[in-house]
């Protein structure tokens, strides 16, 4: 299958990345962005199906557990360079 980047269908995927992720600049030289997460939240709420709510609420804990376990494993397997970064 081919990946898609059609601008309308993947808007949510784009927002997930553009609003939450990316290279981080130390806070002392960037302007206070207290309002920014709010933009994200409002925008997300307006777009159907954005909130992390799982059907039937059945698998919510499972989802959290899976991600926790994966991140634990990643920590165990980190390369030395990453450990140095965490310690920093």
């Amino acid at each position: 299958m081919e990946p898609t980047r059609n601008s309308h269908a993947t808007l949510v995927d784009l927002l997930d990345r553009v609003l939450d992720k990316g290279l981080v600049i130390n806070a002392d030289i960037i302007i206070s962005l207290a309002g920014v997460p709010l933009i994200g939240v409002n925008l997300r709420a307006a777009l159907a199906g954005m909130e992390t709510m799982l059907e039937y609420g059945l698998m919510k804990e499972w989802d959290a557990r899976t991600r926790a376990r994966e991140s634990e494993q990643r920590k165990k397997n980190v390369e030395p360079i990453c450990i140095a970064q965490i310690a920093r």
Binding site: M1, E2, P3, T4, R5, S7, T10, L11, V12, D13, L14, L15, D16, R17, V18, L19, D20, K21, G22, L23, V24, I25, N26, I29, I30, I31, S32, L33, G35, V36, I39, N42, L43, A46, G49, M50, E51, T52, M53, L54, E55, Y56, L58, M59, W62, D63, T66, R67, E70, S71, I81, C82, Q85, I86, R88
Partner: protein, 278 residues
Amino acid sequence: MSLETRRSGKTQATLASEAIVEEEGRYVYCVADAREDMSLGKIGIEGYEVHTIPHKDICAVVHSCPAQPYQSDDQEVVEAWVMTHQKVIDAAWERWSTVLPLSFDTIIRGETEKSAEQNVKDWLKQEYEDIKRRIEKVRGKAEYGVQVFWEPKVIAQSLTSTSPEIKRLDEEIKTKPKGLAYMYRQRLENLMKHEMETKADEYFKDFYGRIRKYTDDVRVEKTKKAEPGLQMIMNLSCLVYRDRYTELGEELEKINRRRGFAVRFTGPWPPYSFVGGA
């Protein structure tokens, strides 16, 4: 939103020269792996001119603006800003092949005795080693989104036929009087929940393993609410060598073809999920 509105509410500084420095900022789109000092034209948010600020062999891609965050309650306005943010990063990405994207609305400010431009330069200088390391991590790669969904109904049906315990309970319910049947149904639901989670675990591990092979790195994201009848069981951001995405696509097609499963494959995105953090 006009400049006026964005600045309103800010108290006028007493010294005009100070005010200018303090109130100017540089909206940073990305850092590019290029030794460039140039303008990219008026392609920025609200038509601002985008230019680069160089340091050694890297540069920040920015536009000059007041040191005020872009904020709006109008969804369309924010959407347009976000799309433009992405377009500028795409332009830089295409031109220079390797970029570290920043999130929307990251604005470096000036200080009383230091311009915003200088602050950007100093930041590049100070973080140079770290930035170079991150550039090397994502060089030649792109980010792809992989979301795996299943149809809970189809999965539940197949569990009913394959799990002896569920099968037995399901049949017993039919023979019980109303009150008792209710209790049995509760038991069945609990059991079903448990079995579904076990299944999801199995599939997650299986799919993760297959997908991991074609990726340089993977982030497991929160699952999201899916369209009716579907449930997302896996949401991954994958860092993939540009020439390996077709292989990943083929593997995903295998999952997509299974009964009761669907896959969403998006990208290529600039490597947003692999440039932050430690």
